[in-house]
């Protein structure tokens, strides 16, 4: 058996010390992604440090109206939290659209942010994959690539980012708080996930020795009127073909504030800034929504199998904004 050592960290200091000193150390959150990847031989840590005992499980209101979510808050608890549901309904909905109840009971906020792609070739040890084996090539390009990204891809990797939660966090301008023996850093979510470029194996701005300790949600008043829409191949328990997180403020028929992020289509959780720009000041009409979607998707690149995602993304953006207008954030 490929053996590894296991350690349950009693406190943050120990966890940070072990990862700073060791080779091939991995933190274990809910384990719903890491353990699968270990089984497939994709992740091969020498040491697994269980961090679920760390006191990073709070959801606290911050002065000024923001909320701080501990990195070890389970996905189910996050989605059920009253503060989250009222101030950031989009986040609660996004989390509930991910995985299954059992998985959400285990999955943590930190682990969810770091979950790896569901590109089918990434999981197939016999396939070429730059993300899994840097420099080996990319079998997804030209292969069965229905799930591939249409935004942010490179010639080295076209894998879509799988997280639902992270799409909502992108929309909310969340800040990821990380800590190492060197100190604490705060990374804006927009900078947290990286585009693949020619280093698709480097997925985030997190350094090898850093622990995610919390995610801070800034006050986003418009988020009180926000929702998440996910289109997938079956009714539940499937990754997004396309998903949309949106928040909208409309006064006298004119959009005064808009936030939009996309899932399933980007190589990272995709903040749709072009669309937001197009929406701002525009009439809250179907036409304007469509133009905004098109502004964002102008940069989309697709192969024959995932070309539908461009049209589907356009429609999902319009449908989500329309519903936000008519029904608000009611799930």
């Amino acid at each position: 058996m490929r053996s590894f050592s296991y350690l349950s960290a009693p406190d943050v200091e120990t966890a940070l010390r072990v990862i700073a000193d060791g080779e091939g150390v991995k933190f274990l959150g809910g384990g719903t992604n890491l353990v699968d990847l270990m089984r497939e031989g994709i992740e091969r840590p020498a040491t697994v440090v269980d961090i679920t005992r760390l006191p990073l499980t709070g959801i606290e209101e911050l002065p000024g109206g923001g909320v701080r979510v501990g990195a070890l808050v389970r996905n189910s608890r996050l989605a059920a939290d009253l503060l989250i549901r009222t101030r950031y309904p989009v986040l609660a909905q996004a989390v509930l659209h991910g995985a299954s109840a059992q998985l959400r009971n285990m999955a943590t906020v930190g682990g969810n942010l770091l979950q790896r792609t569901r590109c089918l070739y990434f999981y197939d040890g016999a396939a070429a994959c730059n993300k899994r084996a840097p420099g080996s090539g990319c079998d997804a390009i030209g292969g069965f690539s229905r799930g591939g990204a249409i935004l942010g891809a490179s010639e080295h990797c076209v894998a879509a980012h799988p997280s639902d939660m992270a799409v909502a966090l992108a929309m909310l301008d969340a800040v990821v708080e990380v800590e190492s023996v060197r100190g604490v850093r705060r990374i804006p979510i927009a900078d947290f996930h990286r585009l693949p470029g020619d280093t698709p194996h480097i997925e985030t701005a997190l350094a090898a020795d850093e622990l995610i300790t919390a995610v801070e949600l800034p006050p986003v008043p418009v988020a009180a009127n926000s929702r998440y829409r996910k289109v997938r191949d079956r009714a539940s328990y499937a990754f997004a073909l396309v998903s949309v997180a949106a928040a909208l403020n409309v006064e006298d028929g004119v959009v005064t504030e808009a936030r939009l992020a996309l899932g399933g289509v980007g190589t990272k959780p995709w903040r749709a800034t072009e669309a937001e720009r197009a929406l701002l000041g525009a009439p809250a009409t179907e036409d304007a929504f469509r133009r905004a979607a098109e502004a964002e998707l102008a940069a989309a690149v697709a192969g024959p199998q995932n070309a539908f995602k461009i049209e589907l993304a356009r429609r999902t953006i319009v449908a989500t904004l329309r519903r936000l207008l008519t029904e608000g954030s009611a799930a």
Binding site: M1, L120, F144, D233, R234, A235, L241, L312, R315, V318
Partner: protein, 734 residues
């Protein structure tokens, strides 16, 4: 009181919900405590030769006992599919040479003391290949498609060309159905102990006798030297009905190591372990008069088969001539050799695939003619089986149409596509006809009665999870005349009287017939003993005058003159009797035996985003007499769920460059989840059938046939868009 026909709970239900039922992979090891684990290394290319296998690292890894490759594997003898196993099995002899025919074919097997050690060592085996260009799908090989006059001879009734020429309307459409995998919850598991005297095999199989005969043949043993046991199964859907490599390589490992060896395939390996439903292209032409009466049905199918083509392939159009009375029918099929596993049955290999196109085309015809789809089918009701020309043994199809339609509310359907709405959703109603040949297999049963009045019924059949234990118990209890609590069922062991396979919708009919014969024989035997027994109140009575009720035997007209089975047996020791069911011969048949059904379904489609949800499904089935409405209903629910998967979510996706399956896992291969499954209603139209023992026609396949095309038709009704390429994922409706 009779227990046949009553919805009693599964007799093994408690064992299952408490976890006490031991499935093959959970069986405790034999007393010797020497159970070891085997893990297969599977080919990473779909076609080529193995040029080297570097196993040094693997052999050196902890706990490794044996490493089997084509260099050191026991030599196997060929297993003729048709002769030994029956049709449709993969008989490729694995680990015998350096050739690779499909991705996922086993190329090495590692045996180690623990599953973890074996898994790790397997990951260390380095195999090099001289890769050749594979045929990835039937589209790549379609130019080389060939006929199989022996196994898929064209069916010709009347003159189809005339029928098409005479038609007022002709529908000519082509449909494609994808390769699919069975994916029972329980993956394929085998445990083998090989001693000088006996090879004992615990295996998740739908046919213990087939595994026994196959292993005996391939390893050069006598069938009596092989004992095969399969007590509890976590589904199979046809995959476990087929001869497949996991059992063979486990037996090899047991023979080489002298240990008890277990091999459980992983979910990923299940995409190349037990075969698949073949990818197909089906062209259908229907000719009809203005009033909808069919003048011609022509179906031309192309289906995939394996590159080594070692088994009679499926003739998916074989049942196409049956559902509708039409004077001119022609079906043909060609095959394409593809670098995939050999296609095997999957919950209705013929009707469940080949009628998808026919039932969709009927819907297209109805739309074209402006005739209600149900009415169109009624107008084409076949008074006798068009294929054989024989009268039906019984046929409740019209009643299925009527009761299903009434229950569903079909008359309220607005025929116009896109005319029905529920808020932002388009609502569609669709229906389809289902038919399935009703047959049975030779089956023997033994019923034994003890001095405590308790009885046991034994048949070497298997319970897929469908309820075989339960119906055996019910039928045998009634036949013997004891309360159902006093009867216990045993199955799944080749040491028991020989049963058939649990496939082809044959199990209930076969098992019930044999159990009834054995129960009745034992009842007659004990009555004879009692009337000859001076110590019995029945002494001297005529055997014909002895009745049995609830385990109590008495003389007709005088209930006080009698005694219980237990009392008779106490004086006369244990008694048993056997019953042998022989199915009516197919040749020289005077009637056509079929089960019938009608599916009615409602879908809601988001027209903007292309998502389809089935929101209601009513299935009316005539399968003769229902032994247990509860297990029967559960069969129908499972069948409809599979139909939903077939219509909307399931497809095995192959990379067309290298013939490797890309979505080999449950988050890539989408089976329906609870949220995809609506309220499903089963209606049983019961019929007595004098030509079928017990009037049992079988439900396993009719439960799913018809569901997928009904959904396809409902999606058309909802959207006005006809999707002819399954499954209907959202992208196809944008």
């Amino acid at each position: 009181m009779s227990v046949v026909g009553r919805p009693i709970a599964r007799v093994e239900g408690r064992l299952k919900v408490t976890g006490a039922a031991r499935y093959t992979a959970d069986l405790p090891q034999d007393d010797g405590k020497d159970l070891v684990h085997a893990v297969a290394v599977c080919a990473a290319v779909a076609k080529g030769r193995i040029t080297s296998i570097d196993a040094r690292q693997a052999r050196a890894a902890g706990g490794v006992l044996e490493l089997i490759t084509h260099h050191n594997a026991p030599r196997l003898r060929p297993v003729p599919a048709q002769e030994v196993l029956g049709p449709a099995h993969e008989t490729l002899l694995v680990l015998q040479d350096d050739r690779v025919h499909y991705s996922g074919q086993p190329v090495a097997v590692v045996v180690a003391d623990t599953l973890e050690n074996a898994t790790h060592a397997a990951s260390l085996v380095r195999v090099e290949y001289a890769e050749e260009r594979p045929v990835a799908t039937l589209f790549e090989g379609i130019d080389d498609a060939f006929d199989s006059p022996r196994y898929a001879p064209p069916t010709t009734i009347g003159d189809v060309d005339r029928g098409l020429a005479d038609a007022a309307v002709v529908i000519d459409r082509t449909y494609t159905t994808p390769a699919q995998h069975h994916h029972p919850m329980e993956t394929m598991a085998t445990t083998v102990r090989w001693t000088a005297d006996e090879v004992t095999v615990h295996v998740s199989t739908q046919t213990i006798s087939m595994v026994r005969d196959g292993l005996a043949t391939t390893f050069g043993l006598r069938p009596e030297q092989v004992r095969v046991v399969s007590e509890f199964l976590g589904g199979g859907f046809g995959g476990k009905a087929a001869w497949c490599w996991p059992s063979v390589v486990t037996a090899m490992a047991a023979r080489l190591t002298g240990r008890q060896v277990r091999l459980v395939t992983t979910r990923r390996q299940m995409f190349a372990a037990t075969g698949q439903r073949p990818h197909s292209v089906q062209r259908v032409r229907l000719g009809a008069r203005r009033d909808g009466v069919l003048t011609a049905i022509a179906q031309d199918c192309v289906g995939e088969t394996s590159a080594f083509y070692d088994t009679p392939p499926f003739y998916i159009g074989a049942a196409t001539p049956v559902p509708y009375g039409c004077p001119n029918i022609r079906t043909t099929q060609r095959f394409v050799k593809v670098n995939c596993q050999t296609p095997v049955p999957m919950r209705s290999p013929v009707e469940g695939v080949g009628l998808v196109s026919v039932e969709s085309a009927m819907d297209e015809l109805a739309a074209e003619l402006g005739v209600d789809p149900l009415e169109l089918r009624r107008r084409n009701y076949a008074e006798r089986d068009p294929n054989s020309g024989l009268p039906w043994s019984s046929n409740g199809l019209l009643e299925c149409y009527e009761r299903g339609a009434r229950r569903f509310g079909w008359p309220e359907r607005n025929p116009e596509p896109r005319s029905m709405r529920d808020g932002r959703y388009l609502v569609g109603w669709g229906m389809a006809t289902a038919i399935r040949h009703a047959g049975s297999d030779p089956t023997s049963a033994l019923v034994r009665l003890g001095a405590d009045g308790r009885a046991v019924v034994q048949i070497g059949s298997q319970d897929l999870g469908t309820g075989t234990f339960t119906i055996m118990t019910q039928v045998a209890a009634d036949a013997l005349g004891v309360p159902v609590e006093m009867m216990r069922a045993e199955l799944g062991d080749t040491d028991l009287p020989t049963g058939g396979g649990s496939f082809g919708s044959h199990t209930a009919a076969s098992v019930a017939a044999a159990a009834r014969l054995a129960g009745e024989a034992l009842r007659a035997k004990v009555i004879r003993i009692a009337v000859a027994d001076e110590g019995s109140p029945l002494s001297g009575a005529s055997p014909d005058d002895v009745l049995v009720d609830d385990g109590y035997l008495f003389v007709r007209g005088d209930r006080s003159r009698g005694e219980r089975y237990a009392q008779i047996l106490r004086r006369n020791r244990l008694q048993s009797a056997t019953g042998d069911h022989t199915p009516p011969p197919r040749e020289g048949a005077t009637v056509a035996r079929w089960a019938f059904g009608a599916d009615f379904t409602e879908v809601k489609v988001d027209p903007e985003l292309g998502t389809v949800r089935v929101t209601r499904h009513v299935k009316a089935i005539e399968a003769g007499r229902i032994i247990n409405p509860r297990t029967a209903r559960s069969q129908v629910i499972g069948g409809v769920v599979m139909g939903i998967g077939q219509a909307l979510t399931e497809a095995t996706e192959v990379d067309r460059r290298d013939a490797r399956i890309t979505n080999a896992g449950f988050w890539g291969y989408h089976v329906p989840v609870n949220a995809d499954v609506p309220d499903i209603e089963a209606i049983f139209v019961e019929r007595d059938d004098p030509h079928i023992p017990g009037s049992v026609k079988g439900l396993g396949e009719i439960a799913t046939i018809g569901t997928a095309p009904a959904i396809l038709n409902a999606v058309f009704h909802a959207t006005g868009k006809r999707v002819r390429d399954l499954p209907i994922t959202p992208d196809k409706l944008l």
